[in-house]
């Protein structure tokens, strides 16, 4: 009986915050695991086009990226505004498109031999580039027999 009386008189006991670090650590680990750090800094501007029928890319470790777009503002002083191709950290003009062969071969060397057939090349091209440069890239890829490609697009909302 006296118990109830006592409880009524007192204010609410403070909630223990001892488990707060645990909760925060849990969240922290989640984000640490899911974070993907960008490996390359983009030197060309890439705004991918939108499409509805897109598929997620699988096996990210087996994907090589080719960026195509006009140079970013800081790069325009040296390279102008014409669309360029970026492989790793270096950009190339359309005339130097043959570098793609070296790039693909280097990518292949870094992978296991049995994984090579599953390698995919993702073409990340800007909406505003013309097909001329994209076709040149595709021709080079065909020459080195890197035939699996993926046109990187954003998923757009259903339009119809």
């Amino acid at each position: 009986m006296s118990k109830f009386k006592k409880g009524g008189g007192k204010s609410m006991p403070a909630i223990s915050t001892a488990s707060l670090p645990d909760i925060v650590f849990m969240l922290l680990f989640f984000f640490m695991v899911t974070t993907v750090m960008r490996e390359t800094t983009l030197k060309v501007e890439v705004k991918p086009p939108e499409a509805t029928e897109v598929k997620k890319m699988e096996k990210k470790s087996l994907v090589s990226y080719i960026y195509i777009g006009s140079p970013t503002q800081s790069q325009q002083a040296t390279f102008g505004t014409k669309a360029r191709i970026q492989l790793n950290d270096v950009t190339f003009s359309r005339k130097e498109v043959g570098e793609i062969q070296n790039f693909i071969n280097a990518e292949r060397l870094s992978k296991d031999e049995d994984e090579i057939p599953y390698m995919t090349t993702s073409i990340k091209a800007d909406t505003d580039v013309t097909m001329g440069i994209v076709t040149d890239v595709k021709t080079e890829l065909r020459k080195v027999n890197a035939l699996k490609i993926n046109y990187s697009t954003k998923k757009s909302k259903e339009t119809n």
Partner: protein, 188 residues
């Protein structure tokens, strides 16, 4: 003295939460959740010398031409019909419907494909074609095939294509193989 002498005083763990929060916020800010996605295609291998390209009958080719002004022309055998594109760059549904009718013709009409297996969509573009329009057309073609496969799987298995087993998906894919041929870019 009431308290006993201890070897080491306990470290105050009260600030651990603050440190963890700091790290948490760092990772929250740097995380990008976007998944890479796109339209997958397989390029044809480089043609070997002195091997003749197999002749394909006109009725089995559906030609889609995107010219340098981003106009889309399409038709069986040769690009004859103008496909309308509205101000927002959305391609008219008629392209998708034409492709579907062409692929699923099965020899019904004389001027359309003999079977889905023989049907080839030839996509041609020019030097000045914008990449965006090219992707939009690729998207429409993919959509046409996806819808055909979906119809087929609903007919045969009573399920959507996505929900089929890998084996069943293979059968449907074999019935409607996606054959998109891309000719070299034409200059001018």
């Amino acid at each position: 003295m009431a308290s006993k002498r201890r070897g080491l005083p306990e470290i105050n763990a009260g600030s651990m939460a603050d440190i963890a929060f700091l790290l948490l916020i760092f990772f929250l800010v740097t995380t990008t959740m976007d998944v890479d996605s796109g339209i997958s295609r397989k390029l044809p291998p480089m043609p070997e010398e002195n091997i003749e390209t197999p002749e394909i009958h006109k009725r089995n080719i559906f030609v889609v031409l995107i010219n340098k002004n981003n106009k889309v022309l399409a038709g069986i055998g040769s690009p004859t019909n103008n496909i309308e594109i509205d101000g927002n760059g959305i391609i008219n549904e008629s392209l998708k419907e034409d492709v579907k009718a062409f692929v699923s013709n099965n020899g019904k009409k004389d001027n359309s494909s003999e079977s889905p297996e023989k049907a080839v969509v030839s996509l041609q573009n020019q030097e000045g074609t914008s990449y965006n329009m090219y992707i939009q057309v690729q998207n429409e073609l993919t959509k046409a095939y996806n819808e055909l496969r979906n119809e087929k799987s609903n007919n045969d298995y009573g399920k959507d294509f996505d929900k089929l087993d890998p084996e069943e998906q293979k059968t449907v894919k074999k019935y409607y193989p996606m054959k998109v041929s891309e000719a070299e870019t034409k200059a001018n």
